[in-house]
Amino acid sequence: MKDLRLRIGLKPPGGYRALGATQFLNWVSCKAPEILRQLLRTGIIIWLSALAGILFTVWSHLNQPSPSIESLAAAAIKPLAEKRTITEELGYSEVYILEGGWPAWQKAGLPLAVGEDSGI
């Protein structure tokens, strides 16, 4: 079976000992640029991948669709379990409890109650 190093060009034909010192150095200087070139290319591919990955992540964060008012409202408010009793008491058809405090309510774009409703 052929020597693998010989096969892939990492060993000179006839082996290292068949070469004199000068020839061996010549052979190394011939091979070194090729090996360095392969390593440089490998590095370039890794850097390109890193750059593409970072740019894609930033881009996908910037282009995230903003959530709709309805979905924010649905997340911010929660229908009360005993709604029926309260609606009967207060005379309103829908009563919600606010979760997440005023900022969540405001973020959901829900209107501020005014006048006599503002106490509710």
Binding site: Q38, R41, I45, I46, S49, G53, T57
Partner: protein, 147 residues
């Protein structure tokens, strides 16, 4: 070089490149899930999980494209060997730990407990990558025309 070995080398390169492109693309479009997959392997320190999950799919994609086009074939094959060896090692560690995690080889993978199958696939691809790396010729490639 005769036509038949040239075609064989071409087909090996195309199969490997195609699989790498497919694996990379599915991970890129399921990036959020891939972070969880990398974390589930429980090998990397927490600090490295996100960078690896961000870069790895693109690396697979570029390596796959390079192999498909035959551009910088040996460098891409070397990277494929390194990637597949790392995946294989990660799979072996988790098989040894006997944990129930998804392989995540092709993005979101609903089938669990398939680490053995994944390891077999990985070994096959690693063999292909080694053949491409060790072959001196890159038939029907851009390397032949450009370099």
């Amino acid at each position: 070089m005769k036509l038949r070995p040239r075609l064989l080398l071409l087909s090996l390169r195309l199969v490997l490149g195609g699989v790498m492109v497919w694996a990379g693309a599915t991970k890129i479009f399921g990036a959020a899930h891939f972070v969880d997959t990398v974390a589930a392997y429980d090998i990397l320190p927490r600090l490295l999980i996100t960078p690896v999950a961000v870069i790895l799919p693109w690396l697979e994609l570029f390596v796959g494209l390079g192999l498909l086009l035959g551009l910088w074939t040996r460098s891409n094959a070397l990277l494929a060997v390194l990637l597949l060896s790392t995946f294989g090692l990660a799979l072996i560690i988790n098989l040894y730990r006997d944990v129930d995690i998804s392989c995540g080889c092709f993005g979101v993978d609903p089938s669990r407990g398939s680490l053995n199958t994944a390891l077999a696939q990985d070994s096959l691809l690693l063999a292909l990558a080694l053949m491409v790396l060790l072959s001196r010729h890159t038939p029907f490639s851009l390397d032949e025309y450009l370099l």
